[in-house]
């Protein structure tokens, strides 16, 4: 009798929790889409502002104009070659007429607002035009190809270093907060100002030490030249080249992260409910997991988000310093060769990346923080 009752109670709990989780999932999805729409609007506005800044001196117009000119010139040359013999005057006239026509189709003869909307559409569809000088490794001159080709390298470097950073500093912060006031704790506090130095700066030092002086790691690049023929060899070579850049990205945020998370943990572990849990006789691991880690998670994610947003900046320079063939190096090359189309293109791609980062973290935040009511009331 008693067991039966218990079973019914158990079943209903299971049933209830199933329902609850279904409701949560529903809310989560609704929240996801609402955030997504908001994010899209935000990115569109952000990209639009970027375009306006870029086009204040008419640079984006020029990019489009140059693309049209080149295309028309090539087509007319082709026609001339096919029809055999075409006088220069006729040809020039044809070019001018065609250019004027295409310019009006592209909307270049229209007022500023209309024009900027055209550019916005191009930017949103990643249609950045052609680069003036730069060529992708596969020989394409489309800015989109140049950028997309380099994106994986950036994501590899950033992903590795940030994941490492997150995990290592989280566990270290936990460990240190358990031994508040110990030598290691004090060391972390004392060393936290080292994070005011950006990653590329550490990079320069690491290059001087490990590449120039000790000669054990490469100065830069992503693989040996020529690249190793085997897959494993290639992987090891990339790994070897990644040590220094990843480490400099890691080290520049490591101390401040550990410090601020440790501080969060300390603040939260002085809450009354933690004392209560201790009084109940819960194990220290359980207290840590349920009463300290859980409520700190939102703050941790926020600080991580802000850092991640900031690190995109650092990554540009870090890649440049290490000649890592990612987005940052493109920016450097584009600046030094004055390739306007590429500069505008990378700026917009970065806006996208930032938008996605903000969105992902927002979403994560919502999952972790029980106080954030998902999908409205």
């Amino acid at each position: 009798m008693a067991t039966e009752k218990k079973n019914i109670a158990l079943e209903s709990t299971v049933e209830y929790s199933k329902q609850a989780s279904r409701a949560t999932a529903k809310r989560l999805i609704r929240f996801f889409f609402r955030r997504l729409i908001l994010l899209i609007i935000t990115i569109v506005v952000g990209v639009y502002l970027t375009i306006i800044v870029a086009n204040m001196g008419g640079y984006v117009d020029k990019i489009l104009d140059a693309a049209i000119r080149e295309e028309v010139n090539m087509q007319v040359a082709q026609i001339a070659a096919q029809s055999g013999g075409m006088s220069d005057d006729v040809r020039r006239e044809m070019i001018e007429r065609e250019i004027a026509l295409r310019r009006s189709v592209a909307g270049l003869d229209q007022p500023f607002i209309r024009r900027s909307l055209t550019h916005l559409k191009n930017a949103l569809t990643l249609n950045f035009g052609r680069a003036r000088f730069m060529i992708s490794d596969h020989g394409s001159r489309y800015v989109r190809n140049i950028i997309l080709e380099r994106l994986p390298a950036t994501l590899l470097l950033m992903g590795t270093s940030q994941l490492l950073l997150f995990v290592v500093s989280l566990f270290l912060a936990l460990a240190v907060s358990r031994h508040y006031g110990s030598f290691w704790d004090k060391l972390i506090v004392a060393l936290s100002p080292t994070s005011s130095i950006p990653p590329w700066f550490y990079g320069i030092f690491l290059i001087l030490i490990f590449a120039a002086w000790l000669k054990i790691l490469p100065f830069g690049g992503m693989v040996d030249a020529p690249p190793p023929p085997t897959k494993i060899g290639y992987f090891l070579s990339v790994l070897k080249h990644m040590i220094l850049p990843a480490f400099s990205l890691f080290i520049s945020s490591f101390m401040i992260n550990t410090y601020s998370w440790r501080t969060f943990f300390l603040i939260y572990s002085s809450e009354d409910y933690v004392d209560m849990a201790k009084a109940k006789g819960l194990g220290s691991r359980a207290i840590e997991r349920r009463y300290i880690l859980r409520p700190t998670m939102p703050s941790i994610i926020t600080s991580f988000a802000l850092m991640l947003v900031g690190i995109w900046t650092g990554a540009t320079l870090t890649e440049t310093v290490f000649l890592w063939p990612g987005l940052g190096t493109i920016i450097y090359e584009a600046v030094s060769r004055y390739d306007t189309a590429v500069i505008v293109g990378t700026t917009i791609i970065q806006a996208y990346l930032l938008g996605i980062t903000v969105f992902l973290l927002d979403f994560l935040y919502a999952i972790v923080d029980p106080r954030v009511k998902l999908g409205g009331k």
Partner: protein
């Protein structure tokens, strides 16, 4: 007054705060000293590296302090004017036929294992129509007397040892056909030694000048371009890095402080106004903040730097604009929302205070202590921002900054050629600045943020 004293006592409790404070104050003192010692216009002129300014400086010379750490010392650059130095004497004797015979003797020790870059002689002569005549010989420690040149000089004449082809051929002959790579190697090596071995000891350079007119005179300045120069060394354009190292400080401070202060004050104002008025204004500010988070701030700065202007002040302005709607608008908004509900604000409304008065007198003062630590900690990030832009080649072309020196060093392969001083010097300055402000900012954070007290 008492509050000020109390906060000072608080600061003094933290050793890191004291260290940070000392560094920051030292930086300010150093900046003012620089501005007084090398006025701005002079610094710009020196940094433009015209020949008349940099002729005394060797190219890519290491700083003198590298010799402290080396067993075999590198040759130190020398700049001596005849008659003004005990080692460089000038004796003038009248000649029977009018004019005079002037003998300059420069005695120097050369005990280095490396050769200097070059020797230069800058002659200034005073005459009417007959050019004075110069003849030079070098007495080596082994007792050889090497003839260097016999030349007639004009009013301003310089003589470079390395550029004298005749001297080269003579040296080759003296070395029995074994051609030295440079004139320096030929002159300062033991004759007939193979491979060339530096002849260490005391050298005596004799310059015999003959003038042919009454009252005609000759003066000479000797410059040896060694391998080390000054306390900071020189770069590829022979510029003394001292100028950039010293002027880097006031520029970094000006840029960092203005950016940090400017954006913090504007941000504070924006969030206070938004919270106080609420409604659509608040909503608008919130949305702008979100959009601002998506705008890649560094990339936009790069764009502005490339397309419009590399002036440091333009970039400063853009930096402030892009940071106005930073994430701290949100965190400050949370504080202001609490403040808005306090009773003293109610009292202010009751006595009829204007909106402006409430925002500036009642709301903003509440957050000032909270933003100070962040403001101080933000200074390094702006200082490094300037350096970052310089590293991309977007530094202000006319102003010497630390970041630009690092950029030059990297562009001209300092790390591959072992010219570490070129990178390390500006790096150390940047690091000290960063640490100073960060230490102070962290300590202030613990003082002003009661939850962090004692943590």
């Amino acid at each position: 007054m008492k509050r000020l004293k109390d906060s000072f006592r608080d600061v003094a409790r933290y050793p890191s705060a004291i260290i940070g404070m000392i560094i920051v104050i030292a930086l300010f003192v150093f900046s003012f000293y620089t501005m007084w010692k090398i006025p701005y216009n002079e610094a710009i002129k020196m940094w433009r590296a015209s020949e008349s300014i940099v002729y005394k400086n060797p190219k890519n010379a290491r700083p003198t302090w590298v010799n402290w750490f080396r067993k075999d010392k590198l040759p130190v650059s020398v700049d001596v004017v005849a008659g003004e130095d005990d080692d460089f004497t000038k004796v003038s004797e009248p000649r029977a036929s009018g004019g005079s015979s002037i003998e300059f003797v420069y005695t120097f020790d050369y005990n280095y294992n490396e050769l200097p870059q070059d020797f230069f002689l800058y002659f200034t002569a005073d005459y009417q129509s007959k050019n004075p005549f110069i003849s030079m010989t070098l007495l080596t420690p082994s007792g050889e007397d090497i003839k260097i040149a016999d030349i007639g000089i004009t009013k301003n004449q310089n003589y470079r040892f390395e550029q004298d082809e005749k001297l080269r051929t003579r040296l080759k002959r003296l070395h029995k056909g074994n051609e030295p790579a440079t004139a320096m190697q030929g002159l300062l090596s033991k004759l007939g030694s193979d491979p060339f071995e530096i002849d260490k000891g005391t050298y005596k350079l004799t310059i015999q000048a003959t003038t042919f007119e009454e009252g005609s005179d000759v003066d000479v300045e000797l410059i040896m371009h060694g391998k080390v120069f000054g306390f900071f060394g020189t770069d590829h354009l022979r510029r003394d890095l001292k100028v950039a190292m010293m002027w880097g400080a006031p520029i970094a401070l000006a840029f960092g402080l203005t950016a940090a202060l400017g954006s913090a004050i504007i941000t504070m104002f924006i969030s206070a106004v938004g919270t106080w008025f609420g409604g659509w204004l608040d909503e608008l500010i919130q949305r702008i903040t979100e959009v601002n988070m998506v705008i890649p701030y560094f990339a936009v700065l790069i764009m502005v730097g490339t397309f419009y202007s590399r002036s440091i002040w333009t970039l400063l302005l853009v930096t402030i604009i892009l940071n106005m709607f930073s994430a701290s608008v949100k965190s400050q908004r949370a504080i202001f929302l609490q403040v808005k509900e306090s009773t003293y604000i109610e009292a202010a409304i009751a006595y009829g205070a204007s909106d402006l008065r409430i925002v500036t007198r009642y709301m903003i003062p509440r957050v000032i202590p909270m933003i100070i630590p962040g403001l101080v900690s933000a200074v390094p990030s702006y200082v490094f921002l300037e350096a970052s832009l310089a590293l991309l080649g977007l530094g202000d072309p006319s102003i010497p900054t630390w970041g630009k020196v690092i950029n030059d060093a990297r562009t001209f392969g300092a790390q591959y050629q072992g010219m570490y001083y070129w990178i390390l010097e500006p790096a150390v300055f940047l690091m000290i600045t960063g640490f100073g402000f960060a230490l102070l900012g962290f300590a202030l954070d613990r003082i002003f943020n009661p939850r962090l007290r004692g943590m």
